[in-house]
C-alpha cells in the first residue's frame, strides 16, 4: 500500500497519444490524492516546451496544461539535465519551473516512488 507514483514522460508529443495520456493520467490520478512525481526525460522534455500550437493539426495544445496541475496538488516536476542539453534547451524553455536533475537523481525519484508509469 503506497500512494506514491512517478509518471515518466519519455516520448515526444503529437506524433503519438502518450504525452496527452500521461498528462491525463497525472490529473486523473492526482484527483484521487496520489503523491505524484512528474519526470521529463529524453523526448519527453518536448512535452513541456513553450509555444506549442497544434491548431493547424486540429489538436489541442498539451504544454499549456502542465502549469495548471498545481491546482490538483501536483507540484513535483523534474527534468533531466542531459536530455535538455542534448536538445539545446534550458528549463526556461519549459512551461513549468521543473527542477533540473541528473540521471542519478531520476533513478532515486523513481526508486522512492516505487511505481513508475511510462508515457
Amino acid at each position: 500500500m503506497s500512494d506514491k507514483v512517478a509518471v515518466v514522460m519519455r516520448k515526444a508529443p503529437y506524433g503519438s497519444v502518450y504525452t496527452a495520456e500521461g498528462f491525463r493520467t497525472i490529473m486523473g490520478v492526482a484527483v484521487f490524492e496520489m503523491d505524484i512525481s512528474v519526470v521529463f526525460l529524453d523526448d519527453g522534455v518536448y512535452a513541456a516546451v513553450k509555444g506549442q500550437h497544434p491548431e493547424k493539426l486540429d489538436m489541442k495544445p498539451l504544454g499549456d496544461g502542465f502549469p495548471m496541475l498545481g491546482d490538483f496538488g501536483v507540484k513535483k516536476f523534474y527534468v533531466h539535465d542531459e536530455s535538455l542539453a542534448a536538445r539545446g534547451l534550458t528549463v526556461d524553455d519549459l512551461v513549468v519551473p521543473a527542477e533540473v536533475v541528473s540521471s542519478a537523481e531520476i533513478a532515486k525519484i523513481m526508486g522512492e516512488s516505487g511505481k513508475v508509469l511510462p508515457f
Partner: protein, 97 residues
C-alpha cells in the same frame, strides 16, 4: 525518390537509416515527430546539417508549429501540406516508418 521521416532522431534510428540509403539529390521530408531533426542547436542537428550538402531537406510547418519549434536549421525548407503534395508530384515516395 522522396524519403519521408516521421520519427524523432533522438528516439529512433529512422533518420540515420534513411540518410544511409538515400542517394545524393534525393529530397528528405521531415514530418510528424520527424521535425525534431530539423531543429538547430540540438545534438542530432549534425545529421541534417551534413545531409544538406547532398539533399534538399524539407520540414512540415504544421508539425513544427504544433511542437513549438521555431529555430530551424539553415537551409531546411519549411513547407505546408500543399508543398508536401508538390514533392509527391515530383517524386515517388519511400516512407521510412
Amino acid at each position: 525518390m522522396l524519403y519521408t521521416i516521421n520519427k524523432s532522431p533522438f528516439s529512433t534510428n529512422n533518420l540515420e537509416s534513411a540518410l544511409g540509403i538515400a542517394p545524393a539529390g534525393a529530397p528528405i521530408l521531415l514530418y510528424e515527430d520527424g521535425v525534431y531533426g530539423a531543429v538547430e542547436g540540438t545534438r542530432s542537428a549534425a545529421l541534417i546539417q551534413a545531409a544538406l550538402s547532398d539533399h534538399p531537406v524539407f520540414a512540415l510547418e504544421a508539425d513544427l508549429e504544433a511542437r513549438g519549434l521555431s529555430k530551424v536549421i539553415d537551409g531546411v525548407q519549411v513547407i505546408d501540406y500543399d508543398g508536401f503534395v508538390e514533392l509527391v508530384e515530383q517524386h515517388d515516395v519511400a516512407p521510412w516508418l
